[in-house]
């Protein structure tokens, strides 16, 4: 597949973020250069694609992902996506340049650039996605990486809270967006963006239009911090300033308005669209500007101003006129330029003076005239002063606000709201300029300010020059690019608009003048008041943040506790009871609904011996259940009885493989539980059996549940067993076992060949369990009453001490001497048995599982015969090496077939002629089985000796105790 430039733009940031992680050394220079060069490369590739999109066509790249579900990895770049990709990578580049000087030496910059690059990649993904689901995936990625970026200074509580709030609000929106996109996909029948863009009429007339619209707008309005979800943005200001400059100018918040513009041809034009976006946009526009006036934190002012400007964009999009949509796109670009430069200027001021509190800074122009001039020009652009880009889009906004689009109160209010919001924007811009740069400097700054290094100021300068150039000569600079972008959104029918500075004296110009004059007057009248006020009047008390926190506390704490109190329990028994009851009910409901009937086969001929066998088995089971509380050893023996009967049943019913495995597993299980019994409490006779009617009732209820469960199982299994079996996949396995798997033992071939991947998973589980057991026992602390020597050893010991001519410990050493000698002699025999079981496994009953457990049993026999210390002095078993080697062997055998061009775990086989031995089947599946064998041996032995080894722990504790007694 040739590397398409679209894919390159998207992949570069992610690859570079990996490179940042892997780059050696702690130096900050290499990672900064990697990041900067990557973004430069993205920018260059994007710019080079302009000829392909300028004609109105869209570049497409489609890689099939899950085509059956309509999910494809589709990238798509038209004029609108192009201008955004250029904006994201361009401003990203400037921010990196700036961050190189901004980030302090103590900050872990590698993490910063990692998140920054990944975020840029995600944002480019949102912009370039040609599939709606893919777009949501990238959308969520931007939420996650913005969370990490906002919380970059993780030591600060404010950063963590701000990050969490941004994540919660935008993440919730993302979830809603996914829902909306799925509905749109359902309506259109495809998730492809092009298909969706073509189906505007279909979507708008569909009955699911309103839910889809609500969900999508929930996603975009939360992302763009629009009323009533605006509160997360000011809290996100705890992020490092480069992050704010990037996230809140060109990216994150722009993603919301980007998507609204993207789907504008599909979703707009309906009363619902107009009302929701109109109200949200207008409120954000005016309220954001109003609250911005009262901020004392420089970045806080910029944050509220961002809410306000995005409100303006939303309002423009709500109107449903192509001209307004064009103006919205233009303002997105303008806002990105002046807001990024202002954030960076704010960062410089913070950096140089050590504070962002506007009340503590003034007269800064004297110290940093160049930065001051740049910030003032950017502020003027923000206020919409002529000759700057902000003026042009604001002018278009006024023109659109005056037009009547839909006859409603909202439309009537629009021009007044527009003038009001713009006047407030003038006021807060003036306040920023006046209180920071003008006036007399305070007695002392936290730090003596001076001009920053040239390259830290360069990005600000670049953007401010862009504001000026676009503002003075719009048609010659941004004009053609904007035209391509707007016409790609509006589907070729771009409206006639003129990007000129002077349209003659008309109503919009009059509104601009009114807004400017009113804003200046307002600042003259109320400037001092703003400077002194702590909290804005009227809306100061309505704090979205506090509501958010209340809701969070209610959901994640109070309701959770209520819920837990109502439905939870710390006690295991009620939970188990519930579980069993639900299982019984789940089985009973379909049984009762469709009736229970037995099949035509009926009860086959019954061998008397079989019935007798199971009589014993059932008695053992019931007796084990009865005895398990007080007579543990007896219960274990009885359990073993049932196990043996099960094993014989397998023999009887033509399952020799199962019988062999069950037999060896039975042995090791018994040994294991015996070893465990050592650490369980002895029966204490002084604890009385609880009497009274309550426990009795409880036991009766449990008995009833048990009886119902048993009866149910009997009925179901009998019903199944008497039916003729359906055509199962067994036939396939039986027919192919020899021809394709090269084995005669079908069960084994299924395990190591046909379903080899399952088996690989199962031995992995086995390995994990064994390691868990080992880990749990490494720090095992037995209960105090189990530390003492077992009673039998104590008796033997006291006998030894009583006899004058026996050494202490002699009886124990000779205890069960004959069996232990036999067990030691049996070791090679067991090994041969295991090898035999393994080697014949492919063609006859046996195989890796049975052989592995048999081998493990051989090892544990040695422990039982000679004791832990003796064995561990002479035999190093290294079970973890067995496990690891086995897993690797199994996996590599599977992977080897991939080298030969087949899929994972394809097996090969042939017969090998060996001298003397004769024909030996040699399948690659045998190697796989060897891996299984290794894991089973390792895991079983690890578990058994981990628990057997605990007896040494007692010895150590006991030895210390005895020494202490001797010295006393």
């Amino acid at each position: 597949m040739e590397l398409s430039p679209l894919l390159l733009i998207l992949i570069l940031p992610f690859v570079a973020s990996l490179a940042v992680v892997l780059s050696p050394g702690a130096s900050r220079e290499p990672v900064t250069w990697i990041t900067g060069l990557t973004l430069l490369a993205c920018l260059i590739v994007t710019l080079s694609l302009y000829p392909s999109v300028s004609g109105g066509d869209a570049l497409r790249l489609q890689i099939d992902w899950i085509p059956s579900l309509g999910l494809n990895f589709t990238l798509r770049m038209d004029g609108f996506a192009w201008i955004f990709a250029a904006l994201v990578s361009g401003i990203g580049l400037l921010v990196v340049m700036y961050a190189r000087y901004y980030m302090s030496a103590d900050d872990p910059v590698r993490r910063f650039y990692l998140f920054f690059l990944a975020f840029t990649g995600s944002m480019l993904g949102v912009v370039l996605s040609g599939n709606l689901v893919l777009l949501v995936v990238f959308w969520e990625l931007t939420s996650i990486f913005s969370f990490l970026l906002i919380g970059y200074w993780q030591q600060s509580q404010a950063a963590r809270d701000g990050a969490r709030m941004a994540m919660t609000v935008t993440g919730m929106g993302g979830l809603a967006l996914l829902g909306g996109v799925l509905i749109v996909g359902h309506i259109v029948g495809s998730y492809d963006l092009d298909d969706a863009l073509r189906s505007g009429n279909l979507i708008r007339s569909h009955s699911l239009y309103v839910p889809a619209l609500l969900l999508i707008l929930l996603g975009t309005l939360t992302k763009s911090a629009q009323f009533p979800f605006h509160f997360w943005l000011p809290n996100a200001m705890a992020a490092p300033t480069p992050v704010s400059a990037f996230l809140h100018s060109a990216t994150m918040v722009k993603a919301g308005v980007f998507l609204m513009a993207r789907l504008w041809p599909v979703l707009s034009g309906t009363p619902e669209w107009f009302m929701i976006l109109g109200i949200a946009g207008m409120t954000s526009f005016v309220l954001g500007a109003y609250l911005a006036m009262f901020q004392n934190d420089l970045k806080g002012l910029l944050a509220y101003s961002t809410i306000s400007h995005l409100g303006l964009i939303t309002l423009l999009l709500s109107l449903g006129s192509p001209l307004a949509a064009g103006a919205a796109i233009f303002h997105m670009l303008n806002h990105a330029t002046f807001k990024a430069s202002l954030f960076m200027a704010a960062g410089i001021i913070d950096h140089e003076t050590g504070t962002r509190d506007m009340r503590r800074i003034s007269g800064l122009f004297r110290y940093m005239p160049i930065t001051g001039t740049l910030a003032m020009v950017a502020c003027a652009a923000m206020a919409g002063v002529p000759l700057l880009n902000g003026f042009l889009s604001k002018e278009m906004f006024f023109a659109e606000a005056v037009e009547t689009h839909a006859d409603s109160w909202l439309d009537t209010a629009a021009p007044y709201a527009a003038v009001l919001g713009s006047a407030l924007a003038v006021t807060y811009s003036l306040r920023l300029i006046h209180s920071i740069f003008l006036g007399t400097p305070p007695e002392s700054f936290p730090r003596e300010p001076h001009e920053p290094p040239f390259w830290m100021r360069f990005p600000v300068m670049f953007l401010v020059v862009a504001c000026l150039v676009v503002g003075i000569m719009p048609a010659q600079t941004i004009g053609p690019f904007l035209h391509v972008a707007v016409s790609s959104v509006l589907g070729g029918a771009a409206p006639e608009y003129s990007l000129a500075l002077w349209h003659g004296f008309n109503l919009p110009l009059a509104m601009s003048i009114v807004a400017l004059v009113a804003g200046v007057l307002l600042y003259r009248v109320a400037g001092d008041y703003l400077e002194r006020s702590e909290r804005p009047p009227l809306f100061g008390r309505i704090q979205g943040q506090r509501i958010f926190e209340r809701v969070m506390v209610a959901i994640s704490w109070r309701w959770a506790h209520l819920f837990e109190g109502a439905f939870g329990t710390n006690r295991l028994q009620p939970q188990m009871r519930l579980l069993v009851a639900v299982a019984v009910a789940a089985g009973a409901v379909p049984l009762l609904a469709s009736g229970l009937s037995f099949g035509p086969l009926g009860n086959g001929p019954t061998d008397f011996a079989f019935t007798g066998l199971w009589s014993v088995g059932m008695i053992c089971a019931v007796a084990a259940a009865y005895q398990a509380k007080f007579h543990r050893l007896a219960a274990l023996a009885l359990l073993g009885g049932t196990g043996l009967v099960t094993c014989l049943t397998f023999v009887w019913l033509s399952a020799p493989d199962l019988a062999a495995t069950q037999l060896v597993v039975e042995i090791v299980t018994t040994v294991l539980i015996l070893l465990g019994l050592r650490w369980l409490p002895k029966r204490s006779l002084d604890v009385p059996e609880p009497g009274g009617w309550r426990p009795r009732l409880r036991r009766f209820r449990d008995l009833a549940i048990a009886v119902v469960a048993g009866l149910g199982m009997t009925a179901i299994s009998y019903a199944v067993m008497t039916r003729t079996p359906p055509d199962s996949i067994a036939k396939f396995f039986v027919e192919k076992a020899y021809s394709e798997g090269g084995g005669l033992n079908v069960v084994n071939v299924i395990l190591v060949d046909f379903r080899g991947f399952d088996t690989l998973g199962e031995i992995t589980v086995l390995a994990v369990v064994a390691l868990t057991v080992f880990a749990l026992l490494r720090r095992f602390r037995p209960a105090p009453d189990s530390i003492e020597r077992p009673e039998q050893q104590r008796i033997q010991r006291s006998n030894d001490e009583a006899e004058p001519d026996t050494e202490v410990g002699a009886t124990k050493a000779e205890y069960l001497y004959v069996p232990s000698v036999i067990m030691q002699w049996m070791f090679p025999v067991v090994i041969v048995l295991a090898a035999y079981l393994f080697l014949r496994g492919h063609d006859a009953p046996g195989g890796g599982f049975a052989a592995g457990v048999a081998m493990a049993a051989g090892f544990i026999l040695q422990y039982m015969a000679a004791g832990t210390v003796w064995v561990e002095d002479r035999l190093r078993i290294l079970p973890v090496a067995w496990i690891g080697g086995g897993l690797l062997l199994a996996a590599f055998t599977g992977a080897a077939s991939m080298l030969l061009g087949d899929s994972f775990l394809t097996s090969y086989f042939r017969y090998l002629e060996l001298p003397i031995v004769g024909k030996v089947p040699l399948a690659s599946a045998t190697l796989f089985d060897l891996g299984v064998f290794g894991v089973v041996v390792g895991a079983t032995v690890l578990m058994l000796i981990a628990i057997a080894h605990q007896s040494i722990r007692r010895l150590r504790a006991a030895r210390l105790e005895e020494e202490r007694q001797r010295w006393n």
């Binding site: 086959g604 033509s654 294991l672 465990g676 409490p681 009886v707 009866l711 088996t759 369990v769 026992l777």
Partner: protein
């Protein structure tokens, strides 16, 4: 024969369920083992009961597929037996460690008042 095995499965299930609902940890270990037998037999019986038929083909792959015992449930049960051993071991060790920490062998880690 089918009836015998069905009843046996029922009895094993019943005994297992009864033990699983008991308060002592050791009862839980034995109960789960009994349940494991019952479940293994149940899955095994899904291939129907065949006497005197092995799931092993004759030399050279000869043999009538219809005459063989169903190998699929057998393969399922075979791994289940080994995994069952592993989970029993894990449960046992968790209970031993819990007893070391809580000084009692009640499933809740503390004696009911």
């Amino acid at each position: 024969m089918e009836l015998t095995l069905a009843i046996a499965i029922g009895v094993l299930t019943g005994s297992g369920v009864w033990l699983v609902l008991r308060p002592r940890t050791y009862q839980l270990v034995i109960g789960l083992s009994l349940l494991a037998y019952a479940v293994n037999l149940f899955i095994f019986s899904m291939g129907r009961l065949r006497v005197g038929a092995a799931p092993v083909l004759g030399p050279g792959g000869a043999g009538d597929p219809a005459a063989l015992a169903d190998p699929v449930p057998q393969a399922l049960v075979l791994t289940a037996i080994v995994i069952g051993f592993a989970t029993t071991a894990l449960l046992l060790v968790v209970l031993l460690v819990a007893r070391g920490l809580t000084r009692n062998d009640h499933v809740d880690g503390r004696e009911p008042n």
